[in-house]
Symmetry: C2
Subunit: 143 residues, 2 copies
DNA sequence: GTAGACCTTGACCCCGGCGTCAAGGCCAGA
DNA sequence: TCTGGCCTTGACGCCGGGGTCAAGGTCTAC
């Protein structure tokens, strides 16, 4: 199978496959005329890469999975190195989710307060006495 | 105040301030010799920018807040455009958190299964009969 | 007058993951 | 034989947010 067919079957582009090859992630055999040549096994490797990438893994993080498959294991995550990547990724995801959650809370609070401030402002505009516009601002999380 | 002092007081760099100026985000007056000149108000604008950036806002998203402050409001989020950015950001955060949460679940499940597969594999290696290595792999989320 | 600490503009570099040309080779069908 | 569709390598571009030179101007202190 040539590069165009593999790309199409995997739902990606030839550019991507050449890029992976340049990283040594998915090397290709060559036919006599210099064309890249792939087989079904390469398709599996490629699918493993694309699947992990869809989950937010960086290309380098997919390498253990690919090498695991290439070394004859039936699944990319049959090897300790792959499990280690899973664990690192889990920790990363947990931390990221927690951080975003904290920010979400602060932004949400901020929005409520700012909306209330505006409501009071409009009420003040309706009423004759103009109270000073209250200050409420997103403050830095501290050093 | 010149650029170096403002940068230091805001905990950033002169390069950053020049970059913001190139975006029209934080324009500077000039003294006779061509040096940039800032005042306390500029420091406030800059702090607003840095605070929002710490919360993951892109520079362009801070623009409404800065313009709100510059137009004389006591807080960057006193204006409707700023509130709109808050709301968009909240929606963005919620979606991102949900997406990461779903991925976290899948990766976590995958890790458990792969660990169990390895445990069975080792048990099989201890026992004389080698059962076929079970396949379990992260599968694509579907088209 | 000269050292050194500031300032100026301009330009290139970085990260990841490709997209998008450009110029040319290889092969099949009419 | 020629056209069209594949393939090859190489090179530049993009995204955001600046880092890091380079070459030169300006001011102050000694």
């Amino acid at each position: 199978m040539r590069i165009g067919e593999l790309a199409e079957r995997a739902g990606t582009t030839t550019r991507t496959l050449r890029y992976y090859e340049s990283l040594g992630l998915l090397p290709a055999r060559r036919t006599g005329n210099g064309y890249r040549s792939y087989d079904e096994e390469d398709l599996r490797l490629l699918q493993q890469i694309r699947t992990l990438r869809d989950f937010g893994f960086e290309l380098e993080e997919t390498r253990p999975f690919v090498e695991c498959l290439r070394s004859g294991h039936p699944a990319g995550d049959s090897c300790p190195a792959s499990l280690e990547v899973y664990r690192r990724k889990l920790a990363e995801l947990d931390e990221c989710i927690a951080r975003l959650g904290a920010i979400r809370e602060r932004v949400g609070t901020q929005l409520i307060q700012a909306e209330r401030a505006r409501a009071e402002l409009e009420a003040a505009a309706t009423a004759p006495e103009g109270a000073p516009e209250p200050r409420c601002e997103l403050t830095p999380p501290g050093p």
